[in-house]
Symmetry: C2
Subunit: 393 residues, 2 copies
Amino acid sequence: MNINKNYQNIAESYLFSTIAKKVNEFAQNNTDKKIIRLGIGDVTLPLCKTVVEAIKAAADEMGIKETFRGYGPEQGYDFLKTKIQQYYLSHNVVLDLDEIFISDGAKSDLGNILDLFDFDNTVLVPDPVYPVYVDTNTMAGRKIIYANANADNNFLPLPDTTIKADIIYLCSPNNPTGAVYNKDQLKAWIDYANNNNAIILFDSAYECFITDETLPRSIFEIDGAKTCAIEFCSLSKTAGFTGTRCGYTVVPKDLEFENVNINKMWLRRQTTKFNGVPYIIQRGAEAVFTKEGQKEIQENLNYYKENAKIISDVLKKHNIWHIGGKQSPYIWLKCPNNMTSWEFFDYLLENVQIVGTPGSGFGKNGEGYFRLTSFGSRENTQEAAERLDKLLN
Amino acid sequence: MNINKNYQNIAESYLFSTIAKKVNEFAQNNTDKKIIRLGIGDVTLPLCKTVVEAIKAAADEMGIKETFRGYGPEQGYDFLKTKIQQYYLSHNVVLDLDEIFISDGAKSDLGNILDLFDFDNTVLVPDPVYPVYVDTNTMAGRKIIYANANADNNFLPLPDTTIKADIIYLCSPNNPTGAVYNKDQLKAWIDYANNNNAIILFDSAYECFITDETLPRSIFEIDGAKTCAIEFCSLSKTAGFTGTRCGYTVVPKDLEFENVNINKMWLRRQTTKFNGVPYIIQRGAEAVFTKEGQKEIQENLNYYKENAKIISDVLKKHNIWHIGGKQSPYIWLKCPNNMTSWEFFDYLLENVQIVGTPGSGFGKNGEGYFRLTSFGSRENTQEAAERLDKLLN
């Protein structure tokens, strides 16, 4: 048996293990000091009440013969798809139910969608970026090229028409930078894709943080997207589902390449290699989209956004260049005094015991930058801001 | 963008859609007649009480800040892996915790594991068989050859040393035939695999139906398996999790090909393209392995096995050749009077309104055979047996 040798080309990521090692060492040598972690991209507020109640009610249903459910549709139950359809309609995107596929999260589908594409495609990935876009394509041996995101373009690269790319990743609001494409910018990417027979894989996992109504929450708000884009979204950040696992993927029925319908291909992939999201979890996800659920998750989102403002305000006060935080849970800052990302990491850890994420861990253009997140508790975020204020004085 | 053209080679399966069409037509024309469905491979008894309570308790935990859980380990929580480790130990299989990977079901992992293997491998699939083994490899363009399962070998094909296969699928107890390999037979496959540098993908999704203690529930009960096999199991049939989605995959640390460790490759695949099974569901799965949980699921398994006996008894009475049913929820019978599978399907539907599954839908060697399942209610199963008894007189 021959193995898939492309796995040997995946770069080992030492980012989070190195962070853990440094933090552990520091903690052992400084047992009297309180460390504040603003590095992790995971939520901390609990599932909202409406969701918990829906999950428990569904569990009860599963325990009774008359209401028990066995295999569900691989692409998800209509009760949840209908809610997502209405959610899209609320920002003026019209979708058919069979364009919506319920998933166990954006990460799974972002990896699995690649099953549909040939290996000889060229993949365009922004740098810096969420590492799995690169790793999943490296596993398949595809050629990867990069779109440079940097301060010159506000970390929002636009298409270069002299470059031929087949599969394009966009993530907006971006992880790690928090930058958000406006409609004109997304339109430029859509035009590029339609003109170059390319497909856009649009990661909208952070769309719920957008409050500026002029900014698109879905790529399908823009004309032309349905012939070139797939959108991946998740309830992980929207409703604290990082450990509860539910998301959705939108594959338009108009999406065709080489006269083959991509929506039908994805349905075939999912019915063959997936058995759907647990019924109980889908009922929890449905509750997110109720009036009460929306109110409760909005309170949580506001809490995180207020945290982001607290961090942003102290950076502003000290004239530290940063983006994100407003329409995103992430703040992306330029390390002061031309420190490298890891130098600034050590500087923060040693002086004020704040843990963040070195930007260089997300790609070469991340060098000299640093990511802080708003997912901590209010108390810790405030304390971190006070410590930063003193340090930067 | 070029698509994966192998998808165009996947055979469209009309098996279950044709069954549905025929049954609907009959029902419309015979509104006075009660149809009994013994065709579907889905459970009907509800989740057991202990599982429901565990799921509800976990949902409550997720609603409280202090006990909320975000991202979990992609490969599953230790609390569940420890229970599975103990379960294996109870049939004398010693596993390390990091050889156990929690999955959202055997179907997902059986498809996704193929990521690790090159495309130029030859795949050996028994015929008749669960169709996804063939479809998932067709999607990747691999060469597929078949091991004929038939009455001569009691539907348990053994290795042919003159044939070179790289990836071998075994399913025991088998779907659709219900046949179970004994230890000597599995040893023959293990020896073949170790001698030919082949890997065995062992689907043990129905292991819980084995009560004959001389028959192996896990391929790892047999010496030599840890250097050539991966085992896929599921709680779908064990504990009625078809709609609740939890399974596990065992990848031994001794499994190496081309000096590359397959356990590490799978860990890398899962951490890159998967985000784990919901915490709430893993707590439900944990409850399956408690003393109370085991007692409750055994009651359900006994119920299905009694159904199988009721069907088997009437077939025996009329001298209809069949296997399965004893260590499996499936009964695989030879259609009487040399009817084809579809002729017998029509004959049963029209005369006694029993719906089963034509064996030809599972492969060419299934022609002339028929699958009945024990997953119906006791009342329906008894009524079906009475109708069969009269029909076959």
